[in-house]
Amino acid sequence: MLLIITSEHDHSTLMVIDWLNHFDLPWIRINEKDVIEVSFHNDDIEFRSPSFSFLLSDLKAVWYRRGFLNFKLYITKLIDIDEFKKIELEKLREYIYYKLAQLPHINRFKNADVNKLIVTETARSVGLTTPQEYLVSTKTYLNEILESKETDFATKSISGYGIIPSDFVNYNILTKKINSTEKTPQKFFPSLVQHYIEKRYELRIFYMHRKFWAMAIFSQNDDTTAVDFRNYNDKKPNRNVPFTVPIHIQQKIIALMEKLDLNCGSIDMIVTPQLEFIFLEVNPVGQYGMVSRPCNYYLHRELALHLKQLSHE
């Protein structure tokens, strides 16, 4: 049986499940909202919730899509004791993730939340070109950077967030150009500043176990999407076409993914007017329906087939 760890609203999980049913691969799905209890029997672990119960030994493969395992914690209302129990539970959770990662898998919890700064350094170490970037927290340093090169600069969130949602307002924090520092205070929270790269087109690449499915996004000619394609123009969507990643770039991406210990993820790159390939980021739990549909890649089917292979069914 295949275990799927995901979140309740992930649409791609449902699409893959449709294909798993088609291929007759038995599966069990745990959403992060499902509260589960575990018990241990010799070398085995039993997972229980009101709607399912299974043993670790029942599992042949794991697909970590996103989310986390939400274990039930009974509290005593003695704060110190409950804090201690939380620490114990955390170690148990770690152990269970470790046991799950020993099964054939697509991604795992431990590596799902990558650090953009570390990924960029690692990408450079395998020979990928990345935008020159700086961490800046003073206006003096920012001005020095802006005056040092005859190029534009942009700022983006370190976490990769494009929006901060709340109940009544959305804070748009997509990549934006830095035009002036006139109103910038002397000191501010450490911020990521990058050379702004002119695009011929952007690439969104879905990577899984050394295979590539890529899409070119012609976002440069639209003012709405020129700086960040996630600032979608719904009235006139960007043109998206299938794209073959050159072998020498594929080799570097494989090296990067292996260094990061990731076997699946969505990679963003820019191709410059001079046809240079610039690596931006990798998101192990990124969406791929947006690549699958315009390019007819049937990625949900590919994922299901791969999960079937991993399960030896």
Binding site: H9, D10, H11, S12, L14, M15, I17, D18, N21, P26, W27, I28, R29, I30, N31, D34, S49, S51, F52, V136, L142, T155, K156, S157, I158, S166, D167, F168, V169, N170, Y171, N172, I173, K176, I178, K183, T184, P185, Q186, K187, F188, F189, P190, S191, L192, V193, Q287, G289, M290
Partner: protein, 69 residues
């Protein structure tokens, strides 16, 4: 409103606290979410949720869409 504050109050607050904000939040574009959608039509009940070897995607496909999908 967010945390009991209006859009204008949030913008003012962001302006006053620039020295502790990352650059991406300086002059950030804030949009108010207008909840204008009204529910029409007949209420239907969702199929019972199950977590093993049954898909509810065919149902969900008709009622919702998610970002990037």
């Amino acid at each position: 409103m967010s945390n009991g504050k209006t859009k204008k109050e949030i913008e003012d607050r962001l302006e006053k606290t620039k020295d502790i904000l990352p650059l991406i939040l300086h002059d950030a574009h804030i949009t108010e979410i207008k909840k204008t959608a009204t529910v029409t039509g007949k209420q239907i009940s969702a199929p019972k949720y199950r977590t093993a070897s049954i898909s509810i995607s065919n149902y969900l496909k008709h009622v919702t869409r998610f970002p990037h999908e």
